[in-house]
Amino acid sequence: MSAEGVGASPRRVGGYGRVTGHQEYLADIRMADVLHVKLITLDCARAQLISIDTTAAEQVPGVRLVMTAADLPQPVPRFGPQFQDRPVLAVGETKYHGEPVAAVAAETKDAAELAVELVEVEHEVLSGGVFSMAGALDPASPLVQDPELRPNDPLAETNVLREHRFGWGDVDAEVADLVVENTYEFPMVTHFTIEPHGFMAAPDGDGIAVWSTIQHPYLLQKMIAKILGLPLVKVRVFAPDTGGAFGGKQNPKLEPLMAFMALRTGRPVRLILTLEETFQAVRRSSAEIHVRTGFLEDGTMAFQDIEADFLIGAYVDIADRVVSKSSYLACGPYRLPAARILARAILSHTTPSTAFRGFGIPQLTWAREANIDEGAHALGIDPLELRLRNLARHGEAFIPGDTPADGDWAQTIHKAAGLIEWATPVPPGRGRGLAVGLKSGPTSGLSYSTVRLLADGSGLVYAGTSDMGQGARTIFAQIVSAELGTPLDRISVVMGDTAAVPYDQQTSASRSSVFMGTAILRACRDIQAQLRTMASRLHGIDESEIIVESGVVRLPDRELTILDVLQAGLGRLGGELIGNGEMRKDVDPDHPLGGTAAFFEFNCTATEVEVDRETGETIVHRYVTVGDVGRALNPMQVVGQDEGAAIMGLGHTLMEHIILDESGRIMNLGAIDYRIPTSKDLPLELLSESVENADGPGPYGIKGVSEASLLCTAPAVAAAVTDATGLVIRDLPLTPERVWRAMMEQR
């Protein structure tokens, strides 16, 4: 093992700029002649727009444009990754707190801010806004979406966007000795990337250039091209490395508005959202999930019957896919004779919910694992034993028609149980809990890469992945280093420019190391094949007798470096070798999700907690997370992702939730009132370990790793709270207030 190749933990590629302040995030990009944009929003959720008077705002010195929906093509273009429902600016009615109704572009930020105050939006706050599940399902409530946007949709006259039904076997025919059923709630939470979202756009010849803090630059390119009626080549998207994304930056939001403003003014325009505006742009769906599990006396699970309602926002974004993809896997990693799953995506007058690390699975895992714990308790069976009894074995087709279990998941559970010392007595005053989480990787995907081996042996990698902190640049460089023997400091990874880098479908579902990694591996193998041809020509040896690997060219009688062969082969003109690689997993139209899981992320989390009887505070003494990663290509980065996801999971488990007032306004808007874990909110001991059996589909046997450890944080902590206190709380977060109140009721 080299210090830079597979299994090594070299310094992060791109790390130097991040510690010196020279890394250029979107807001750091300087642009000559730029206009500063500010949004005009209303301090209410649902309002009818009567008129917008821009006269006074336009008279502010330096203001160049006040754009309203009336200035856009009519009907106002709508867009979205799943449904074309989100308008460029609000049309007729605002549907959530903070939905933009107009925007100002001015020479300075000060002028833009002043003008925003002077735009007069005559509006009427509409009563009856839909902010809760019950409200959405009340037939007397207004429809969030205009039924005209939902032609031929039998549900168009309801606030239910879609119903998804999955399952196998016959739940009603299964016999159980014990049935446990309850409803579990999961709160709305927000991504809270430390880098707020930002956007820029500028006329670019007869096309347009757009800069965005976006995870999917090629999706943005496609959407802008469609809205503006331009060929793809006339839309150039720049996607600088983001300061965190976690799913919230997957899909376009304000880029179409920025494109129209740039074209209208003929100038570059720039909009950096405030943190508050970022809160109003993205969130995770809240959920109410009813789980009914049938158990045999010995703990064998006979069936699961799950109804999951997700409260999505006013526009769909990717939320319906979150609902369907996660619900499909609602029963987790268990062997079940029968399963019935009904999931509903329900519209509301709230922030559009979108992808957020775990993609719906944390909500379902909370409900399922908590329900299983209740079953174990009622049966008097150790919850660890009960899980192992029902766990799918490696290779077992636990979901009919889908990818069989792709890991030795029992090994992961045993490792976590060992680290939490499950078999030893729990110290007085404490409790232990354990849970498992399972998430599918991508169901389809397409990544291309080009690798250029330059004449001096240095390498250039082109990858359309977004490095948002997960460390994709490092992983990709390590693959090239492993294949071509090039040191990391002689490899550059080019990303974030659709005019320079070949297509990549998206950066999501922990796919990049597996999908783009495979494309890069294949591009390197393409170069190795060319080197073999070169060596054959140079030395008069048949290609079949030459092996190229890990930086060396092996001839039957001797070994050469790749650089020797490359330079001799390129000759006096120099030049380079160009390798191309593709990784494709096609859509399967017969599969309910459009494809089987490329891999699974499996995690077992175990905790030991103490609950303060006076304050209700949960103190996590020990927190163990073990993930089945296939192979840790870069162990340091795996631990970073794993611990980071665990701490994020502790956020929604113990402290985070968006609070709405009666008119749908977010009451805890901003960093003071919405708390995320700080350095002092960590478990007293936090252990992250991996199981590595090299059984993943990615290069060298890797799987995706970036989401697993927050999938089951909540049930693992809640089980420990129950163990310590005897309390069963079925609503998150487990704030001191909620736990304290429950303890008061218990007395």
Binding site: R30, F246, G469, M648, I672, S679
Partner: protein, 160 residues
């Protein structure tokens, strides 16, 4: 209020003296980023909670979003750009890279500045003291353990 008067400001940033006119309502963060183009200092919450904009003012860590630029008159400011000297990274910068403390990187300038002050005041902090010292710097990638390890590694190395 929005078109407040300009005021002259003379201060030292990373060893260089600057004299400029600034709007009295602009905060130090605005002036560092927009006027001096020192964009290593980051903007996030602008209410003193996240720590992304942390700089040193006369050696004390300050949320530059909460300090008016004119208040910096006569003071010495250090930003993340001032930590490395002659292309050589500071011990903290090196340790952050070695320990894997840097993920997306957006909070890192602020973390480094807070850590810099912490070690200047307390060269041998305990784990709890490091966590206390950096509690005002949020990291959503949550590399808190790695950041703490990096600070402790620098403290330990200084002993040798």
């Amino acid at each position: 209020m929005k078109f407040a008067h300009a005021s002259s400001l003379t201060f030292t940033v990373n060893g260089t003296v600057h004299s400029l006119d600034v709007a009295t309502h602009h905060n130090l963060l605005d002036v560092l980023r927009d006027v001096l183009e020192l964009t290593g200092t980051k903007e996030c919450c602008v209410e003193g909670e996240c720590g992304a904009c942390t700089v040193l003012v006369d050696g004390r860590s300050v949320n530059s979003c909460l300090m008016l630029a004119v208040e910096a008159d006569g003071r010495e400011i250090t930003t993340v750009e001032g930590l490395a000297s002659e292309g050589r990274l500071s011990p903290l910068q090196e340790a952050f890279l070695d320990e894997g403390a840097v993920q997306c990187g957006f909070c890192i300038p602020g973390q480094l500045m807070s850590a810099q002050e912490l070690l200047a005041k307390n060269p041998h902090p305990t784990v709890d003291e490091v966590r206390d010292g950096l509690v005002g710097n949020l990291c959503r990638c949550a590399g808190y353990q790695q950041i703490t390890a990096a600070v402790l590694a620098v403290a330990e190395a200084a002993d040798r």
